[in-house]
Amino acid sequence: MRKEPMKISNLLKKYNLLVLLIVFIVIASILSPNFLAVGNVLNLLQQASIPGIVAIGMTLVIIISGIDLSVGSVAAFAGMISAILVSKNVPIIIAVLAGVVLGAALGLITGILIAKFGLPDFIASLAMMEIARGAALLTTQGVPVFGLSSDFKFIGGGFIGKVSVSGIIWIILTVFFALLLKYTSFGRSLFAIGGNREAATLSGIKTTRNYAITYVLCAALAAFAGVLTASWLAAGQPTAGDGMELNAIAASVIGGASLSGGIGSMLGTFGGVFLLQIITNIFNLVGLASFYQQIAKGVIIIAALLLNRAIDAKK
């Protein structure tokens, strides 16, 4: 009687991705003996961390059945602001916060335009993408900011032992948001909003507010990722983050999120980000030429989703 099919079905869902991941890892380690080297795995963790943090926010947005195309340029803008502040010797913590708060503010604007004024997610965030990119370039007329203090490098480019700090941050944020989704009313409300916004409203959920907050979270996480990028590269790059949004959306969907809303998980997204990163990594390891990389990436994304469906159908 005390069966818990919910948990089992969750496991199965995760298991799809797990199958995929294992298939990939096996192929990768056959193709390149270096793949499973500790150094490379830590490498992967570090590389995946920044897109991973963006994907956390994107998953939240996808759960409420939204989409946010502005993450890449918000990241760039926030990274620029932090870098400029650091270069002006503002205390690092304040510089970092300033970037994140700026991102949150932009997210609030996008969120309000969508949740309150009813603009389509796609277009409102597309417009914000243009605005934030223009603003990022404008801060320094397009010139990167470099020569940042080495203290600033710690969060984005530092290591604790051999493990990258940003990788650790990514894991912590994943766990945090997984718990938030599972154990708080706010978290549960996102699934209700994404599943049926009207029903959620009639259940007393502050849908407009929570919808906007989700955009704030997404943009703040993107901004934080942008700050980490600036820290990692020891330079603020106004053109950073191009194409980040598509990567984050793909990772969420590969991780099981549904673009029609109401479905998505942090663990799945974590796996999705890893999977995408493995693809590039393994191509680089085996020395596949660039053009083939793009083709292969497309093919693999399709294959992954088809495999996913095939496994689903088996159940």
Binding site: N40, Q46, G142
Partner: protein, 303 residues
Amino acid sequence: ADDVMADYTGKADYKIGFSQCTLASPFYVTMKEVAEDYAKQLGVDFVCVSANDDVTKQNNDINDMISSGINALILNPINAEGVAPAIEACQKADIPVITVDRNVNDGNTAYVGRDNEEMGRLVGEALVEELGGKDKAEGKILEIQGTAGDTVMMARRDGFESAIAEAPGLEVIQSAYCDYTRSKAVTATQDLLQSNDGIVAVYGHNDDMSLGAAQVLQEKGVEGVKVTGVDGLMEAVIAIKDGKYSITTMNDPGSLLKVAMNTTLKVLNGEDYEEFVDAGTGVIDSSNVDDYVDDSLAFAAMK
């Protein structure tokens, strides 16, 4: 090269348009900024539009500028043929086209640029020396590539590889295309270090990417790898001074634009002008780095 650098003094009352291929790199941004300042100084009307690396947009931009009544166009084309229609339109409207940095195959009045193959070759030669000369040098060199199909990329690649070919002990490993951007270079370097031993040097098609590679090497605690690039980016020049970077070649975008503006005004005023100006280049390494360090600049200035 002194008169190349001299500021133009002729009178002017013109509207000059500048179609820049992109602003996605400090190199191009510096071109724009120098041009704007210099135009102000000269008192000419000046507009710069970036095509964001989109040939279609570049053509449209130029057509729009023609509509807005420019007298001359300074053009940094995305590639040699892609703006042919817009150049034709300029010709019809009697607007002289002065290409800068990159050239077109046809239809321009003058070209102000540099020899990118030469830059690559200079780096290659200097690197071979650093590694002990043609006969002794051995090991792998990681070549971090710019943008696919781009003439600048190909020239820098060919020049460099022709110099390296002289040293039989050296082998070049090419990275995936990193579009001249640092973050892509960092990831590529990380991955390539995993699968390659015996790397003795890195050559990037620009300094921005090489700096990314240098950072990875430092993080991984790999020592003794020579890092080289192209552009004379001040961040790289300072790194040379600090002993973290080996070689770069000059590619001062500011001087390019000043010369291009000068040439443009000469054309408009009916004065004599050179149809091809090579703005020159030169190696910066630890032996001469002190002459070039100036952190008020983004790029080392030609001396």
